[in-house]
Amino acid sequence: MSILVDSTTRLLCQGITGANGSFHAHQMIQYGTRLVAGVTPGKGGSCFAERIPIYDTVSAAVAETGANTSIIFVPAQFAADAILEAAESDIALIVAITEGIPVLDMVRVKHHLNSLGTLLIGPNCPGIITPPVCKVGIMPASIHTPGRVGVVSRSGTLTYEAVAQLTALGIGQSTCIGIGGDPVTGMNFVDILQLFEGDAGTDAVVLIGEIGGNTEEQAAEFIRDQMTKPVVAFVAGQTAPPEKRMGHAGAIISRGRGTAADKIRALEAAGVVVASTPAEIGATVKRVLDG
C-alpha cells in the first residue's frame, strides 16, 4: 500500500526531450515506472528511448496512451502553461519539478486546478516515490527501500538525507513526497498527512519542514486533532537570519513570523517528536517505532 503513485500509475513526461527531462525519464524507466508517453510541442511523432511515443499535446498523449499522471520538467517561464494543459486533459495527478516559476503564475494555476479537482505536487520539488514500484521524480532511487513509514517534506535534498538515514537503520518507506519549497504549492502538508492517515500501508510519518509560511503550524493542528499515527519531524533553518530569502522562495522568516522555533513549538504541542539535528531524523524515527 502507498499513496498517490503505485503500479497503476501511467506516467506522461512533459518536457521529455530537455536535458533534465530525458535524464530523469531514463532513470524512472529503469526504476520500473510505467512511463507511457512524452510531450514536447513540435516533436510529436518521434520516440523517446526508441519506444516511448512523443506527442505535441497532452490531450493526444492521454487519448492514445491512457496516461493518468504527468511529471513536468518544462522551463519555468512555460511551466504554468504546461500544468494547465495537463489539468485540462484529465490528468489526475501532476508533479511539477520545475524550479523558479513566477509566484503569481502559480496563484492562477492553483485556483484553476482547485476548481477542476486536479491534484498537484510541487512545483520546485523532487517528486514522489513508492518503493520499489513507482518513481515519479528526480530522487536518487538507491537510497529508498520499501516499508511502512511515509515521508513528506518541503525540501528536496534534505528529504534524501532523511530517507538515507531511515534506510540505513532498516526502516523502509511506504511513499516519500517532496511538496516543494515555493510560497504557493499544490498539495500541502495537511493534504498529504490526511492520505497517510488513511493508508493501511503506512504506520508512521516523517515530516520535514522549514522556516517561512505556516504550513507546519497547520500540520500540527491537523496532527493534534485528527491523526492517530505517530509523526516525527525536523524543521530546517533554526539558525537562519530573518528577512533573508534562503534559496527556496518559501524559506524566508518575514518580520518575525514563520520561525523554526514557532514551528517546533507547535509540532511538539501536537505530540510530534521533533529531531534536534538533521543527522538524528532516522534515529528519532527508530526510537518512536520501537516505543
Binding site: 503569481l104 528526480i138 505556516n214 534562503m246 518559501g250 538533521p278
Partner: protein, 386 residues
C-alpha cells in the same frame, strides 16, 4: 528584488497613483539643486536604503531652506543608517530623495501582498498609518482590515469601496480611494510584485490622497518577463559576494561565521547551517548551488567562498539528486586547481553518481577531508576551523 522609494514612486506615478513632487540626489550638491528647483519652504530629505524603519532611525528629516537641505544631506550621505531592519553596522546611505513638504490631515496604511495560506493576493489597510504596522497588528488588531482578492477575478470595485469606507474615506475621497486601490492592484499584478506598500497613505489638507511613501518588492522569478526592472537594481545594497553569486544563479547569503558552506538544495543548506551550529561552529554563508548547477557554477561558488577572508574551513555537503556528484566533484577540483586552497576542505558526497564523484576527488590528489555523513562532515569542519 527590492527597489528604492524614489524608484517605486516613479512607477506609482506611471500607474496613476499620486505622489509628492520629488527629485533623487546622489550628492550634497544634487540635493541643494533639487530643493532649489522644487521651490517652496518645506522639504523632506529622505535616505534611500533597502530597509524599513528609516523615519525612526533619523533617515527622514524635514528642512525649511535649501541651506538646511544641504546640511542634512551632508549628514546623511556616505554615513551608515541603522534601522531595526538593518544589521548593527547599518547601511551606507548613497542616495537621497528630496521631496516637497505636504500638509496632511490623516495618515493611513495600504498594502497588497501575497497571502500564502490562501494562495491569493490580499489587500491590507489600516486607519493607523505612518507607524510600524506590525505594532498596530499586535496592539490594535481591530484596526487592520483585509480584502482577499480572487486571482481569477481581480480586485472588485465593491471591495475597494468597502475598504475605503472602513478607512473613513467618504465623499470625494471615496472615488479617489477606489481608483488608487485599483491602480495599486494593477501595478502589483502587472509587474509580478510580492509586495506593494504605502505607509503612510495621506489625506492632504486640500482633501486628496497622496502616497507619501512607496515600497515595492518584485518576484525575482518573474524578472525575465520584466527586463526593464533589472535597471532598478542597486548592487550597492548587496554584499559583493552576493552580486557575484547572482551572476551564476547561485543562492548565496553572507553570514557572520567562519565555515564556508557549499550545499545543493535550500533545505539541506539550512540544515547544514543548523548542524554546524549544533557542533559549536558558525556558518560563513548560506549557499545553495541549485538544481541547475553545472561545473562552471560550482567552480564560481567555490571561488566566492574561498574569496571570503572570514572563512577558516570549507564544508561541501552534497546529496545528489538532479545535481550529480561527478559533475560537482569536477567543478570543485577545477576551482581548487585554479584558485588554490589555503584552508581545510571537508567534502561529503552522497546520492546520484556518488562513486564516480568520490573517485574524481581521490584521483585529483587534492588535500581534503572526506566525511562519510553530514554529522561527521560538520564536526570535522568545525574542528578544522578551530
Amino acid at each position: 528584488m527590492k527597489i528604492h522609494e524614489y524608484q517605486a514612486k516613479k512607477l506609482f506615478r506611471k500607474h496613476g497613483i499620486e505622489v509628492p513632487r520629488g527629485i533623487p540626489a546622489f550628492s550634497v550638491e544634487d540635493a541643494a539643486k533639487a530643493a532649489h528647483s522644487l521651490g517652496g519652504d518645506t522639504f523632506v530629505v529622505k535616505a534611500q536604503i533597502h530597509a524599513g524603519g528609516r523615519g525612526k532611525a533619523g533617515g527622514i528629516k524635514v528642512a525649511h531652506s535649501v541651506e538646511e537641505v544641504r546640511r542634512l544631506a551632508s549628514q546623511l550621505l556616505d554615513h551608515p543608517l541603522v534601522t531595526h531592519q538593518t544589521t548593527a553596522q547599518g547601511r551606507i546611505v548613497r542616495r537621497l530623495y528630496i521631496e516637497e513638504g505636504v500638509r496632511i490631515t490623516r495618515e493611513l496604511y495600504l498594502a497588497i501582498l501575497l497571502d500564502r495560506e490562501l494562495s491569493c493576493p490580499v489587500m491590507v489597510a489600516s486607519p493607523e498609518g505612518g507607524t510600524d504596522i506590525e505594532e498596530v497588528a499586535r496592539t490594535h488588531p481591530e484596526q487592520i482590515f483585509r480584502e482577499v482578492i480572487h486571482p481569477l477575478i481581480g480586485l472588485a470595485e465593491y471591495q475597494c469601496r468597502r475598504m475605503a469606507l472602513a478607512l473613513g474615506l467618504r465623499d470625494r475621497l471615496l472615488g479617489q480611494a477606489v481608483a488608487l486601490m485599483k491602480a495599486l492592484y494593477g501595478l502589483f499584478w502587472g509587474l509580478d510584485c510580492s509586495l506593494v506598500e504605502i505607509n503612510p497613505l495621506v489625506v492632504t489638507a486640500s482633501d486628496s490622497l497622496l502616497a507619501l511613501d512607496a515600497k515595492i518588492n518584485f518576484d525575482s522569478n518573474a524578472l525575465t518577463r520584466h527586463s526593464e526592472l533589472l535597471e532598478l537594481r542597486d548592487l550597492d545594497e548587496q554584499e559583493p559576494q552576493e552580486n557575484e553569486a547572482g551572476k551564476y544563479q547561485l543562492n548565496y547569503i553572507k553570514l557572520e561565521g567562519s565555515i564556508g558552506c557549499m550545499v545543493n538544495g535550500a533545505g539541506l543548506a539550512m540544515a547544514t547551517m543548523d548542524i554546524i551550529s549544533h557542533y559549536g561552529g558558525q556558518p560563513a554563508n548560506f549557499l545553495d548551488v541549485g538544481g541547475n548547477a553545472n561545473r562552471e557554477r560550482v567552480a564560481a561558488a567555490f571561488k566566492i567562498i574561498t574569496a571570503d577572508p572570514a572563512v577558516k574551513a570549507i564544508f561541501v555537503n552534497i546529496f545528489g539528486g538532479i545535481v550529480r556528484c561527478d559533475m560537482l566533484a569536477q567543478g570543485v577540483v577545477e576551482a581548487v586547481r585554479e584558485v588554490g586552497l589555503t584552508v581545510p576542505l571537508v567534502v561529503r558526497l552522497d546520492g546520484t553518481q556518488v562513486e564516480r564523484g568520490k573517485q574524481i576527488l581521490t584521483e585529483s590528489g587534492l588535500n581534503m577531508i572526506v566525511a562519510d555523513s553530514m554529522a561527521d562532515g560538520a564536526r570535522r569542519a568545525v574542528q578544522a576551523a578551530g
